[in-house]
């Protein structure tokens, strides 16, 4: 019943971290080797390579850069660079930060999505899922380290990610002055960002620690006292979560495009983290089953997880489309610029994401029998996870690097780095408690769950 992280897995994860660090480090060196002195040559070489597409359209829709107001179109006063060169330099320097942030947020949101799913199981007193509780608790152990990593990167990256952190953005008369951001500075300021971040993360981690404690205490309890406590704090957590998750998505993601806003953005990010989280629950469960553990988990549990993967993928698409269609239809410049940038510069990841997050799960997981075939669920899960990585990519990159995106060393390095940390943390936590929450009052029902 007990599980201990295997040496092979630990070494594999450590190798991932080392390779990831290498990739991230090289990415930083690579991008900061371009500086004010050689940017002109770099751009000239680039233009030689892919024609002159950049020079003509880079001004139209890079709302991530807030400096291109009236008086700023000629030579930049301090460095002697042209406007275009300055933009390009910013984008090149932003890329490793953005790549790091996308990777860190992606793995963090998996853990947070699982935490929400776990709380829902308790609050709904679900009878089918208690056999999976320890798997979920293992995955949610990454909420704390993952959240701290995301906040640390946000702190270090500063205006490389969040243009509203530039000097003088709220100062009238300053060359960086931006009236729209200045109007939002009551919310969008560095102190507020981190105070809120710590409150959000603190609340989530608090729930995670207590629910885990009660869950383990319930194993040897005489009555259902700890289960009832867990039920109560789960219901309270869900209320806290749905507000803070939404605000977190404005702060941590939507604010990279500070002029743009969407009222269902919080839901949209939630759908993404929910489906990624459920997918990871299914994958970890199948992995542990393949090791001969979790013998009380049957095909019906996998079937139910796959149903959730299918259903939430459709839900994600529904929200994605609801956001897209209203903005596309009304065609208001300050709103539609968000999608213009993405369709113009991110055609492949933008529509590729739609295929991976909607069409693949829809067709692969539609058949009822396929949802019970483990390797099939894993394959569909890999597509879904890649799709939702791209989803986060599409949220952050267009605002920070505009057309200078590529999935190269910094991006893959970040995935390896945080993927490695995620595996280490999750599988170490899985080994800390028995895999069966044996005294849960619904355990019998869950073990006999049959569809």
């Amino acid at each position: 019943m007990e599980y201990k992280i295997s040496n092979r897995l630990r070494i594999g994860a450590i190798i991932m971290v080392v390779l990831g660090l290498l990739g991230v480090g090289l990415g930083f060196m690579d991008s900061f080797s371009v500086n004010e002195d050689n940017i002109s040559e770099v751009l000239a070489a680039e233009h030689h390579g892919h024609g002159d597409a950049h020079a003509t359209n880079s001004h139209d829709n890079n709302h991530g850069e807030l400096t291109h107001e009236e008086d700023h179109h000629g030579e930049s006063a301090k460095s002697g660079l042209t406007h275009h060169e300055e933009h390009a330099l910013h984008q090149i320097h932003n890329r490793p930060y953005a790549a790091l942030y996308v990777g860190a947020f992606f793995f963090f949101m998996i853990a947070l999505g699982v935490l929400a799913f776990y709380a829902i199981q308790y609050a709904a007193q679900a009878g089918w899922s208690p056999v999976l509780f320890r798997v979920m608790e293992g995955i949610t152990s990454y909420v704390l380290p993952g959240g701290l990593i995301v906040l640390a990167i946000a702190f270090a990256a500063d205006s490389h990610l969040f243009v509203w952190l530039k000097d003088g953005v709220t100062e009238v008369g300053h060359e960086n002055y931006d009236k729209l951001v200045a109007g939002k500075s009551g919310w969008l300021n560095k102190t507020g960002f981190f105070i809120r971040g710590i409150i959000f993360l603190g609340g989530w981690v608090l729930y995670r620690q207590f629910s885990r404690k009660f869950s383990i205490a319930q194993d040897n309890a005489e009555d259902n006292r700890y289960f009832k406590k867990n039920f109560r704090i789960s219901a309270a957590f869900l209320v806290f979560y749905i507000y803070t998750e939404s605000m977190m998505s404005w702060d941590w993601i939507m604010s990279v495009d500070p002029h743009w806003f969407s009222t269902l953005f919080g839901w949209y990010v939630f759908a993404s983290m929910f489906v990624s989280g459920i997918t990871v629950i299914a994958m970890v469960t199948i992995y542990l089953k393949s090791k001969g553990l979790l013998e009380f988990v049957n095909d019906s549990h996998i079937h139910d997880l796959a149903k959730f993967m299918f259903g939430i993928s459709v839900f994600w698409t529904y929200l994605w489309f609801s956001q897209f269609m209203l903005i596309w239809y009304s065609n208001i410049p300050e709103e539609v610029t968000y999608f213009v940038t993405r369709i113009e510069h991110y055609k492949l990841p933008f529509f590729g994401m739609l295929a991976m997050n909607f069409i693949f799960p829809l067709l692969l997981l539609m058949n009822s029998d396929y949802k019970r075939i483990n390797w099939f669920v894993v394959m569909a899960g890999i597509v879904i996870l890649c799709g939702h990585y791209l989803d986060v990519f599409n949220m952050i990159m267009p605002a920070t690097v505009v057309e200078r995106w590529f999935i190269g060393l910094p991006e893959i390095g970040s995935i390896l780095l945080f993927g490695g940390i995620f595996l280490l943390v999750v599988f170490t936590a899985l080994g800390k408690a028995p895999l069966l929450a044996k005294r849960n009052p619904f355990m019998k029902e869950s073990e006999h769950f049959h569809y």
């Binding site: 897209f324 269609m325 009304s330």
Partner: protein
């Protein structure tokens, strides 16, 4: 006629019925039909019925609905009386596609759902003014009825069914019973 005789075993609980079906199947008797007041999960598998193809028809009907929606909206909004959609008068179906997605979705669901229900009724041989086939009206309330053909083995079947927990066992002449 001996072959047209059937035995009706009546149960009052779906779990008892399920285990009874398993017991009867284990003895290699052929179950003609089971009448239940509500769908009993897994009954088809235990009875050894071929898997339903209703899901496949639903998928096909959905495809028909999608096609109807695309053809219809293309004719109405693009060809017959071109509309300026959202201030973007491109008169191309593909460029205005997002506006039609809700309609495409709704008609897909509409066709799949309605035609699937109609298919289900026809496949179950139910249509308006059809006389009910179920031999005992209690199967529409709270009783379950299992019908087994009798081939000179009345006493054997009766004792087997009694063991499985049937509350009532009747031997009926099928011709008399038929409508």
């Amino acid at each position: 006629m001996e072959a047209s005789k059937v035995i009706h075993a009546i149960y009052t609980d779906d779990d008892v019925l399920m285990s009874a079906v398993k017991a009867v199947k284990a003895k290699k008797h052929h179950i003609e039909e089971i009448y239940t007041p509500f769908p009993v999960h897994g009954l088809d598998k235990v009875m050894g019925l071929a898997p339903t193809r209703l899901a496949i028809t639903a998928f096909l009907y959905g495809c028909v609905g999608l096609t109807v929606a695309i053809t219809m909206m293309n004719f109405i909004m693009i060809e017959d009386w071109p509309q300026d959609i959202g201030g973007k008068p491109s008169f191309s179906y593909l460029e205005n596609m997002p506006a039609f997605v809700p309609i495409m979705f709704e008609l897909t669901v509409f066709f799949a759902a309605h035609l699937m229900v109609i298919t289900f009724y026809l496949r179950s041989r139910m249509w308006p003014f059809k006389k009910a086939e179920n031999p005992d009206p209690r199967t529409t309330d709270d009783h379950f009825l299992m019908e087994i053909a009798v081939h000179n083995n009345e006493s054997e079947l009766t004792s087997l069914l009694q063991e499985t927990g049937a509350v009532e066992i009747n031997i009926v002449d099928k011709d008399e019973d038929a409508h």
